[in-house]
């Protein structure tokens, strides 16, 4: 795949390789890897923004504190608007998800960075946490009547069983689409940037290539935020189903 021909070097997927941080071939489950490093940086980034940035608890906020408050209010309003007042109990979990994804996405845009959210293992865990958590919450709150989520009362009786089958399928497809949407977006954008970067080695097309990288980078900056937002708002929508399963 990655042959060197005439100065063209394509390694668009190498940036996604998981490798031990301190050398060696062995990658055990506990080995500190580049994943560990970038996850730690993500946590550090969130800490710096939300904790260090607000340490003065100013009534008139500094710029960092304003951003922290903005993030807080964005997610708080989202949870309140989508799920209603009862959903606010789960606000810390949703805030954790949002801050994690948005910081992982933006840190991944740094040159030479490793994008943790481009890995299906990471996004699948996030999506499964949401899926399992919300399903368990639905049964805990409503018992067996949570299953009425799949029984569309508004539809005519004969087609309700068919709708129920469709609803069940769509319910189980949720974590798949939820996780692949995020990982796919992250991976595709970064890979495309790498491909254009490889073309930059050819003098004739390097200006075009650099322009293209700039454009894609701008787009990816947008995508980094939008995908974090989409992941969070979908979590809220699913949470609403668990809180109010009756259509």
């Amino acid at each position: 795949m990655a042959e060197q021909e005439g100065g063209l070097v394509f390694h668009p997927m190498d940036q996604f390789i998981v490798k031990p941080l301190f050398g060696g071939d062995e990658l055990h489950w506990y080995t500190p890897s580049n994943v560990t490093l970038w996850l730690a940086l993500t946590v550090l980034g969130v800490f710096l923004l939300l904790v260090a940035g607000t340490r003065r608890r100013a009534i008139v906020p500094s710029r960092t504190q304003s951003v922290a408050e903005l993030a807080y209010c964005l997610v708080y309003k989202m949870v309140e608007d989508v799920t209603g007042k009862e959903g606010l109990r789960y606000f810390p979990y949703i805030m954790t998800l949002f801050m994690f994804i948005v910081f992982a996405n933006f840190l991944g845009l740094l040159p030479m960075a490793f994008t943790t959210t481009s890995h299906i293992a990471v996004t699948a865990v996030l999506a499964l946490l949401v899926f399992v958590g919300i399903t368990a919450l639905g049964f805990a709150l409503h018992g067996m009547s949570f299953l009425r989520l799949f029984w569309v009362d508004a539809a005519p009786l004969p087609i309700r069983p068919i709708l129920a089958v469709i609803e069940v399928i769509s319910y189980f497809v949720r974590p798949v689409s939820h996780s692949i949407r995020l990982a796919g977006n992250m991976m595709a954008g970064h890979a495309v940037i790498k491909v254009f970067a490889a073309f930059a080695a050819l003098a004739a097309i390097s200006p075009v290539s650099i322009l293209a990288i700039t454009a894609i980078y701008a787009l990816e900056t947008l995508v980094a935020f939008i995908q974090a937002y989409v992941f969070t708002i979908l979590t809220c929508v699913y949470l609403k189903d668990a809180l109010h399963p009756h259509h």
Partner: protein, 191 residues
């Protein structure tokens, strides 16, 4: 269970690791290299737990308290502004009242002064009037005296003249009759 997964994934892991060593090239999609999943999932779990603890224990309560404090401060400031406004109105009222009082006081002082002045003038006038009256009375008396004395002189002169005239005419002048005649001519009540 973890070791089972590890052994199962070992073959792939070796392949990927070898490839990674020999020039760090990805074979296919690194995302589908299941040998890296335990590592990623473990560290992700650690990161999420740490992040959740940071947010729920530190960041979110702090931001919530800052936001609440801010809205409290704004409400408090508005109340304070209202209070200050009320005080300003009160001060204005007090000022107006003080001004009115001062005006009234001034009016009173002026009126008093005027009255005092008037009283003094009246007193002086009365005194002057009394003096004038006294002087006039005195003058009147003097004039009356002068007049009386003049009248007396006139009578004496007239009696003298009458006696001389009677004597010249050769008559015997009866002083009593002459005095009566003179009195009758002059018409004076005092005889």
């Amino acid at each position: 269970m973890a070791s089972e997964t590890e052994t199962a994934a070992h073959g792939t892991a070796h392949g990927a690791a070898d490839a990674a060593h020999g020039g760090a090239e990805a074979v296919g999609m690194p995302q589908l290299d299941f040998s890296t999943f335990p590592n990623q999932i473990f560290w992700l779990a650690v990161a999420l737990v740490v992040l959740y603890l940071i947010l729920s224990r530190l960041a979110l309560p702090r931001i919530a308290s800052v936001l609440a404090e801010r809205s409290g401060t704004i409400t408090g400031d508005l109340e304070k502004a209202e209070e200050l406004k009320r005080k300003a109105v009160e001060a204005e009222e007090t000022y107006q009242k003080a001004l009115a009082d001062a005006r009234a006081e001034a009016q009173r002082v002026i009126a008093e002064a005027k009255a005092e002045l008037q009283r003094e003038i009246d007193e002086a006038t009365a005194k002057a009037d009394a003096e004038i009256a006294a002087r006039a009375a005195e003058s009147e008396k003097a004039i009356a005296e002068i007049r009386a004395s003049a009248l007396e002189n006139v009578r004496a002169v007239a009696e003298e003249v009458a006696r001389e005239v009677v004597a010249l005419l050769g008559g015997k002048a009866d002083p009593k009759a002459i005095a009566e005649a003179v009195s009758a001519k002059i018409g004076g009540t005092r005889a």
